[in-house]
């Protein structure tokens, strides 16, 4: 059983806290993505699981075993590095066989396993070459092979696709997903790319400034962001955030922003952010009830999607639209369904449940 459990993990480098009290459990066979911007502590967390870094506080469990004092070599984990970390002086065969040799696996078995793994990843014709003679995509496969061949309990992947070009990245993403579906091994995968996280993960752990903000399935992370940062970070273009205040009035409780007024209830009065995804914004060329007048600042066409950048009296809004038929300066009217609105506490960033309506 290769469950990975982090209990109150904190890691300090001098004055800075890189990882701040993270607890999470990765179940056996689960694919968990640690997602966050660069410098958020996700790689440090992964390195703590591998044993390359030692936590300042807290405990790491792999299976039923506390591994706090266990050296990396004895944790039975494999890691794919962002730089691939292929040994430049060894042929591909020896690169893949390195871990097996270190563990004194019989020679015949090494040959068999290396060949099988190389075939599976379609790099068997490269075994006699040195890493320098390989393309980026091939090196990436060798790095994967080196991890796979060991058949460890846990796979750790540190931004394995970030050095590939966009097309190769998409193709490899699917392969990694298929590998996981086939092997059903516990995998922890670090990335700053939300598309990778959404497509690969069984569960996403969103981390910012060393703190775990949400640990949930991709759909939950997208549909029910638990924190303002999560709403902002996941999804492209980012969620529109409108600052406002929940106030008690004689007519009931209302959420006010400078341009929006909604009936809302379910939380204490105070400052909140209203979050609304670009795709939930309805853009119309004619005004309607509760619509907000905006002028078009720009249109970004990606081919399949069109993003409309709008200005209203107090700020800007991004909307995702189907038709590219807008011109700069044009007046449009936007509205949205209150069901799609997210609310976040302005002070803590935590999501709050408000039932809102116009």
């Amino acid at each position: 059983m290769a469950t990975v459990r982090l209990e109150h993990i904190t890691k300090k480098f001098g004055e800075t806290t890189a990882v701040d009290d993270i607890s999470l459990t990765v179940n056996d066979g689960e694919f968990v993505v640690l997602l966050g911007p660069s410098g958020c502590g996700k790689t440090t967390t992964l390195r703590i699981v591998s044993g390359l870094e030692v936590q300042s506080e807290g405990h790491v469990y792999i299976g039923d075993r506390v591994v706090d004092d266990v050296e990396p070599k004895d944790r039975n984990v494999a890691m794919v590095f962002q730089s691939y970390a292929l040994y430049p002086h060894l042929k591909i065969y020896d690169n893949i066989a390195f871990g097996l040799k270190a563990r004194h696996v019989p020679r015949a078995e090494i040959i068999k396993k290396v060949n099988e793994t190389a075939k599976m990843l379609q790099i068997h014709q490269l075994l006699d070459r040195k890493p320098a003679a390989l393309s980026g995509g091939q090196r990436q496969r060798v790095a994967l092979a080196r991890a796979l061949v060991r058949d460890p309990e846990v796979f750790l992947l540190d931004e394995p696709l970030s050095n590939l070009d966009a097309k190769l990245r998409a193709a490899t993403r699917i392969e990694i997903k298929n590998l996981h579906l086939r092997l059903r091994k516990t995998m922890i995968y670090v990335t700053h790319d939300q598309v990778e996280a959404m497509t690969l993960a069984d569960k996403i752990a969103v981390i910012n400034q060393g703190k775990l903000l949400q640990f949930a399935s991709p759909m939950d992370v997208f549909m029910k962001p638990a924190h303002r940062f999560v709403g902002d970070f996941v999804g492209y273009p980012s969620m529109n955030m409108l600052g406002g205040e929940l106030e008690e009035t004689s007519a009931g409780t209302f959420f006010f922003t400078p341009v929006i007024r909604m009936k809302a209830s379910g939380a204490q009065t105070g400052k909140y952010f209203l979050g609304i995804r670009p795709e939930d914004i309805v853009v119309s060329k004619s005004s309607s009830e509760n619509s907000l007048e905006c002028s078009v600042r720009g249109l970004e066409r990606t081919g399949s999607d069109n993003y409309l950048f709008l200005d209203y009296s107090e700020g800007g809004i991004v909307a995702s639209v189907t038709s590219p038929d807008y011109s700069v300066g044009e007046k449009v009217y936007v509205t949205f369904d209150p069901v799609n609105a997210h609310f976040f506490d302005a002070a803590t960033g935590a999501a709050v449940q408000l039932s809102a309506s116009f």
Binding site: S50, E71, P72, K73, V77, A78, F98, A102
Partner: protein
């Protein structure tokens, strides 16, 4: 009339470039002549039968008729060149390089890859010690080794020679290891190696070039040392090439009556050329290493 002025300025620019190119070549040719002249001087006089007093500018003009291998014959036909001088110089140079390099390897690795408490003060301390003029260690060494009855013995010279290069090569190795990504060792650690295993299986194979260079630099010190050898070597059996070269040079420069100057040149050439060739082959590494490591003046 824009066209002519356009061409005019282009011509002017071209002319400026040609002038600067000619000046550059001129400066480089002067510098090259300056650099090569003494080496040509050694080489040419080594194949002439001539005394120092007889060397004039005209005798330096290449002339096939004057070439003789007399000097090389003279030097090499004396068996002691091989059985004493060359043998001893190689023993001192190679053993010092070997011992010094192993020490430098461990030192460089520890300084590069560990953040042990005391690392920074230790580096400061080494730098401070480096400021003690190495030449002047000869005095305490002399009495220390005399006390141990090691004067005029192989061991008595190999020990200080080995120590002589350790700081410099240690820093050379450290700087080179600094340039190797730590990912590689970490990958080895996760793959099941111990730290020592990662050192021997990943780091050592990767730093081979700098080890070659370290051996070379550690070799040259003892190979050309005069100070320690002169103070420590009293008998005939431990004499080195450097001591011999010095005595040949003082004979030949004192008017050149007794011995042909060419003998000195031939000796110099035989002693120096192998080093020159190795240096030129490894110049890339040497320059890279020395940029960070220090100075061979």
């Amino acid at each position: 009339m824009k066209l002519p002025s356009f061409f005019g300025s282009m011509k002017k620019r071209l002319k400026g470039r040609i002038v600067s190119r000619i000046l550059s070549h001129f400066a480089l040719i002067v510098a090259t002549l300056f650099a090569l002249f003494p080496i040509y001087f050694i080489f040419w006089t080594s194949i002439l039968k001539i005394q120092l007093a007889a060397i004039t500018l005209s005798s330096l003009i290449p002339n096939l008729a004057l070439i003789t291998l007399y000097n090389y014959n003279y030097v090499l036909s004396d068996p002691t060149f091989f059985t004493i001088y060359l043998k001893n110089s190689l023993i001192f140079g190679l053993s010092a390089a070997g011992v010094g390099l192993v020490l430098a390897l461990f030192t460089g690795y520890a300084l590069s890859r560990f953040t042990f408490p005391g690392r920074k003060p230790f580096i400061y301390f080494i730098i401070a010690l480096m400021q003690f003029p190495g030449t002047m260690l000869v005095i305490p060494y002399f009495f220390m080794f005399k006390e141990l009855n090691l004067i005029n013995t192989y061991l008595g010279l190999i020990i200080p020679y080995s120590a002589g290069s350790i700081v410099f090569t240690g820093i050379l190795v450290k700087n080179y290891i600094d340039s190797i990504p730590e990912d590689l060792e970490e990958a080895a650690l996760v793959d099941g190696e111990t730290r020592t295993g990662a050192f021997t299986k990943v780091i050592i194979p990767l730093i081979k070039p700098i080890l070659g260079l370290g051996i070379l630099l550690a070799f040259i010190g003892p190979y050309t040392d005069f100070i320690l050898a002169r103070a420590f070597i009293t008998g005939n059996s431990l004499q080195t090439l450097a001591l011999r070269l010095y005595s040949v040079s003082s004979i030949s420069s004192s008017g050149g009556a007794a011995i042909d100057y060419g003998v000195f040149s031939a000796f110099s050439f035989l002693m120096g050329i192998p080093i020159l060739i190795i240096y030129l082959i490894f110049q890339k590494y040497i320059i890279g290493g020395l940029t960070l490591g220090g100075v061979k003046g």
